[in-house]
């Protein structure tokens, strides 16, 4: 995926460029707001990661200009402005997604993937990761053909992990997906559900498909 990173913070910009390049994306990083429009005009990008508080031109102005020019590139706003009003304004100005700093790198990756997936618009009816198979319409979960019985919460959790297979999914992302709340307390409300799901999925199998990534979250990988 070709990604344009617009970020004036040198440390963060470099980290993003390195991190995204390492997972196979083709990245270009620029620091100044006024460069955005010419760069987009000369090269094709799939996603733009746009900071708002930029030297020169404000990110929202760039956003509006791009949308005015009917530029269809996906734009993910990445900013420290995190109130509800800021989010609404960002999305209304034409952003595809809005992520507030500080953020988990895994979440950024997941959101970039999600933006692209929304664009392709091919309806997915089933997932297959390794020996694990989920059918969305019938909500049936099978591992190597063996039916696994899950509670609704567990099913939702697994479906989200399947959708984001081979990517780290943070606890916050899971919280938002399952209970529509970015729970900020220290109590790990996800852990219990992950453990139960893990027990059910792994029962009778050698390998563990749900990996805990310390400090980040969880990742579903093929066995």
């Amino acid at each position: 995926m070709k990604i344009l990173i617009v970020e004036d913070d040198v440390v963060l910009g470099a980290a993003l460029e390195k991190g995204l390049a390492e997972i196979g994306h083709d990245c270009k990083w620029i620091e100044r707001g006024e460069e955005v429009v010419p760069v987009i005009a000369s090269m094709v990008f799939d996603v733009v990661i746009l900071d708002l508080m930029l030297p020169g031109v404000h990110g929202l102005d760039i956003l509006r200009k791009l949308r005015q020019d009917k530029c269809g590139v996906s734009i993910l706003v990445l900013t420290a402005l995190g109130t509800v009003a800021d989010r609404v304004e960002g999305l209304n100005s034409g952003a595809d997604d809005y992520l507030v700093k500080p953020f988990a790198f895994a979440e950024l990756v997941a959101r970039i993937v999600a933006i692209e997936r929304r664009k392709s618009k091919t309806a997915v009816t089933e997932f297959q990761v390794g020996t694990l198979h989920v059918e969305l319409t019938s909500r049936s979960v099978k591992r190597s053909g063996k039916e696994i019985d899950l509670t609704p919460t567990e099913y939702k959790l697994l479906e989200f992990l399947m959708r984001n297979a081979n990517q780290v999914v943070t606890r916050r992302m899971l919280c938002e997906h399952l209970w529509e709340s970015d729970w900020e307390g220290v109590t790990n409300v996800i852990e219990v559900h992950i453990n139960r799901l893990r027990n059910k999925v792994n029962k009778g199998f050698e390998s563990d498909m749900i990996h805990t990534i310390r400090g980040s979250g969880y990742e579903l990988r093929p066995d």
Binding site: P102, S181, E191, R214, G215
Partner: protein
């Protein structure tokens, strides 16, 4: 510059009070004096009328008694009377069978000099009267005023049934003289008023505005960092004292608010330092010596965890600032929120944790109240309360979340009751303080460590929604947090 000063002075309260006072005093005194003058004139004219009327009666009686032909003595008597009242230019005219006789002082007729063959030797003689004063044959008991004279006419009945026209008149010049004198007095009084009223007004206004000037002066000296000064209370108990008192109370409140801010900032800096120090030390330790990849991984993961703690703290500080900054607009922007749905979601979120700690978490609701507000913020309140309850309840205990509607007070009532360790009475008031943590939660480990902001945030959010957050607790038996929120209908 000078013009500006004049402008500023003319806009001052003292100047305006002075001006208003002067205008009111002058208008009032002018009204009084003018009324007095009119009354005076009326009285004087009435007195003159009275005299003339009596004279008329007298002359009529004399004429009737004298009979025909009239004796010279009668005319001499009338003439003497005219002489005696020369300063009033008193006169009498009698027309009898076409003959007009007139006494001295008959200046009225002199004014029509060309019509009269008149000499001032005091002898009664025939005169012509001005056309407008020609006797019309109609009796006029009411006086008429002509050329500065007051006149009374009458047709007198004589004993032989003949009639005679009698006119008695006097000049009004004496009245005019009196009135001129009164006018002079009025003029002097008014001029005095013109000087005294503004001066008095200036003095009075000064008395009123002096405390105000003191207030302005004191307020001018106040600085956010130095709010120790207070306005003097003069003890008169008037409105200005009241104002001073109100002002002082406001200063007290601002002072304590600023102190709170200061404490908060100091606390926040302190609380931010701790995770920052952990972050830094971990990174420094990692860099100190060569390590295996596994060791590095371990240390880096710790760093990520510590940054997450820092992130939570910063986000909570921002949330607190956001909810406290502008409560009213937050509420105005509020949308209808189905509280039951929020509680269900929170309940579902924590039910796993509760089971893993062998705590029975139950949810009991008979109502679906809708409140006005921000669902994200309200959710934080519910999450925090349930999380706290679970945190301080030992294994085997229970937590009951219930949602009701108090129709009488039009409130939604959310309560979270636990069978936990309870809270000591002396601890309760401090519980909602920012960064306050009970002793049992002071342990710094990633699992139970909180930011100490949870309940402050709950309090701020509930207050911001126009509700109340209250607490009942007993050591060893458990606690009950209750949130009362006004129903949506009430807020609309």
């Amino acid at each position: 510059m000078n013009l500006d000063r004049i402008k500023a002075t003319s806009r001052s309260l003292r100047f305006r009070l002075m001006l208003l006072n002067a205008i009111v005093v002058l208008l009032a005194s002018m009204g009084t004096l003018v009324g007095l003058r009119a009354g005076m004139r009326f009285a004087l004219v009435r007195e003159l009328d009275q005299i003339l009327f009596e004279d008329l009666d007298e002359i009529e009686l004399d004429l009737a008694a004298a009979g025909e032909p009239r004796s010279t003595a009668l005319f001499a008597q009338l003439d003497r009377k005219a002489k005696g009242h020369v300063q009033h230019r008193w006169f009498v005219q009698i027309r009898d069978a076409g003959l007009l006789s007139a006494s001295q002082n008959q200046n009225l007729a002199q004014r029509a000099e060309e019509n009269a063959s008149l000499s001032n030797d005091g002898i009664w003689q025939s005169v012509n009267v001005p056309a407008e004063l020609e006797f019309g044959g109609v009796e006029a008991n009411s006086p008429l005023t002509f050329n500065g004279y007051r006149l009374f006419d009458r047709i007198g009945k004589l004993s032989d049934d003949a009639s005679v026209w009698i006119r008695v008149g006097a000049s009004m010049s004496s009245i005019d003289r009196d009135l001129t004198l009164i006018d002079e007095i009025i003029g002097i009084a008014f001029s005095l008023g013109l000087v005294i009223a503004p001066l008095g007004g200036y003095w009075l206004a000064g008395r009123v505005t002096r405390p105000l000037a003191t207030m302005i002066h004191t307020a001018d000296r106040l600085r956010p960092e130095k709010l120790s000064e207070r306005l003097p209370i003069r003890g008169t108990g008037d409105e200005l004292d009241h104002l001073s008192h109100t002002f002082n109370l406001l200063l007290d409140r601002i002072g304590s608010f600023l102190q709170q801010r200061k404490d908060f900032l100091a606390n926040a800096a302190h609380e931010l330092r701790t995770p920052l120090a952990a972050l830094r030390s971990t990174a420094e330790v990692a860099l100190r010596s060569k390590r295996s990849a596994i060791e590095y991984e371990e240390l880096l993961a710790t760093i990520v965890e510590e940054s997450e703690a820092l992130e939570v703290l910063v986000n909570q500080l921002l949330l607190l600032a956001e909810t406290e900054a502008d409560n009213e607009t937050l509420l105005q922007k509020g949308a209808p929120v189905n509280l039951a749905k929020l509680v269900e979601k929170s309940f579902d979120m924590f039910v796993g944790v509760a089971e893993s700690r062998s705590i029975s978490l139950r949810y009991d609701t008979q109502a679906q109240p809708t409140v006005k507000g921000n669902r994200h913020h309200l959710r934080q309140v519910i999450n925090n309360l349930i999380d706290n309850a679970l945190k301080f309840t030992p294994a085997g205990g229970s937590v009951l979340v219930s949602l009701n509607v108090d129709l009488l007070a039009s409130n939604a009532c959310l309560s979270v009751r636990d069978s936990g360790v309870g809270i000591a009475a002396e601890e309760m008031p401090r519980l909602f303080d920012r960064f306050y943590r009970g002793d049992h939660s002071r342990r710094r480990d990633a699992v139970t460590r909180g930011t100490g902001l949870g309940l402050s945030i709950c309090q701020a959010i509930v207050k911001g929604h126009g509700g109340t957050l209250s607490l009942e607790s007993e050591i060893g038996k458990g606690s009950r947090f209750q949130v009362l929120l006004p129903l949506y209908e009430r807020m609309e």
